[in-house]
Symmetry: C2
Subunit: 342 residues, 2 copies
Amino acid sequence: MTLDPYGLRRVIAPAGALPQRADRLDPGLPLGEDELSIAVEALAVDAASFAQFEGAAGGDPERIAAEIARIVRERGKLHNPVTGSGGMLLGRVRAVGPRHPAAGKLSPGDRIATLVSLTLTPLRLDAISAVRPEAHRVECRGEAILFATGLWARIPDDLPERLVLAVLDVCGAPALAARYVHPGARVLVLGAGKSGALVCALARERVGGRGEVVAADLSGAALDALVAAGACHRTLHLDATDAAGTLEAVIDAGGPFDLVVNCASVGGTEMASILAVRDGGTLLFFSMATSFTAAALGAEGVGKDATLVIGNGYVPGHADLALDLVRRSPGLRALLEARYAR
Amino acid sequence: MTLDPYGLRRVIAPAGALPQRADRLDPGLPLGEDELSIAVEALAVDAASFAQFEGAAGGDPERIAAEIARIVRERGKLHNPVTGSGGMLLGRVRAVGPRHPAAGKLSPGDRIATLVSLTLTPLRLDAISAVRPEAHRVECRGEAILFATGLWARIPDDLPERLVLAVLDVCGAPALAARYVHPGARVLVLGAGKSGALVCALARERVGGRGEVVAADLSGAALDALVAAGACHRTLHLDATDAAGTLEAVIDAGGPFDLVVNCASVGGTEMASILAVRDGGTLLFFSMATSFTAAALGAEGVGKDATLVIGNGYVPGHADLALDLVRRSPGLRALLEARYAR
């Protein structure tokens, strides 16, 4: 049997597409030697996708469940055709193919979450038992397939499950930032949400005594929470869609930073990010609202020689890095529990 | 007088915007101490913008000229309101402010091209003498302002002007690639157009005897031209919008590459690029059709730990690097002259 690390054989249509771009997947094929099968317990639906389901169903959980069941039946995956997004899932390992990378690491019954999008995960649903709008969560029974390249994380016993899911959702951000935060660095984090908080806490640990971590956000309350959590040295209360205003605040704060990490939840913050980084510095974009051309042309337009990095959500060891960060930072854990795991 | 490296004082509306996002600039203010003024000779209009002007004017050069004159009069810059794009300009230095970075390097009368977009360059037009549709070029008289952060390049005497402009247009690509091409590396360049050709030639020089430079394109003729120019070791004739097909070709060519440089002129090539780079490798995106989310989520979806870099058009010394590359590569020069400077 040939290996199929990207799941090409499960694509029904269109021919030659990868699973994420496919219209339809086949979750019913026999398990491949390099595949892993999961007994699904719950779907954690992407926020944009859940909002669309909720709107279209008038907020009725029954109708949301029916729509999700219909999509999964038709597409072989929970790939919202309107938003194009998916989410992740939780369940227990059912079987591990002998040539899957998790062979020997995972056993049937182990509880895991998938870290690849539901938009590329072959899925069969047998029953939906509950829809929980407050958590964008669907309790269900079914089976999902992970390819050899599909990322997963073991659900630990020592942290609340909803906290774990909230952290896993953005665990790539602190893990990638860890490669760029050097002792003594001045780091600016734009956006004090979940990924911003994790990046701040990680950077705060790594810059050491001579470095500085500054958090910026439009919300004073979000900044106060970061300070209370001990996740940053200073804060800047600003609107990062206002490039000139951000530049002024950055100059007042001591000038451009060695590293700027954009975790903003809104668009139009590329230029503020570019003005805030020093020549020779690095800018990591984790905001999904980032415009490629605004970043590329913006840096050229102001002659800024900074390395502009697209925030790849995968870094080896990212789940453990983020969960360990939360374990050893009581302030960060309290902040995330208050915000995402109540 | 305070310095104004980003030209904020020339923004008329909206207040607080940077020049590129502004509706209107004021080209008429007295020259600032850190500004440079240019006696404009020609505008090299961006291809997308010129096509729009041409379409709206039914191809009539007189009407194209009138529309360009109207926009510059109203906006104080040649910022096409439909396409959002601009272009660059040529002219002779009129005056250099004593605190502009070019003070002491440029003198009145020196012939230069601007390397920042016309969308952020304050401009006054006094007369348009000719519109040359075949070159997307407007011969004119007027005055333009460069801020301290605005990039420029001296027009050399030893190369044809149209060749120089064609090279300057994409000079950031080989200059940024130069930072990532190491001796012995295997490099894949997607797209055999102008920037692809320059990146191939640069990489071919730098990988040394043990390295390999492979060019990929949908056009066999474009690939043949690169081979004839001696700009690459091998070619792959493929459609980079077909990720699965590209993966197959890459495996046949010896497996994933250390460095992939995306210079494609079409969209939808992110996943092919990601599959073509090895774990731990680097992917440079120069295609303006790149989707940020397709790149970020695509890499995560297949668990690829590659560094994804946005092709910043500015790298110090980029103009000289690219022009020198053309000077010492007769094959590359012939290719570019045949294609862009006839």
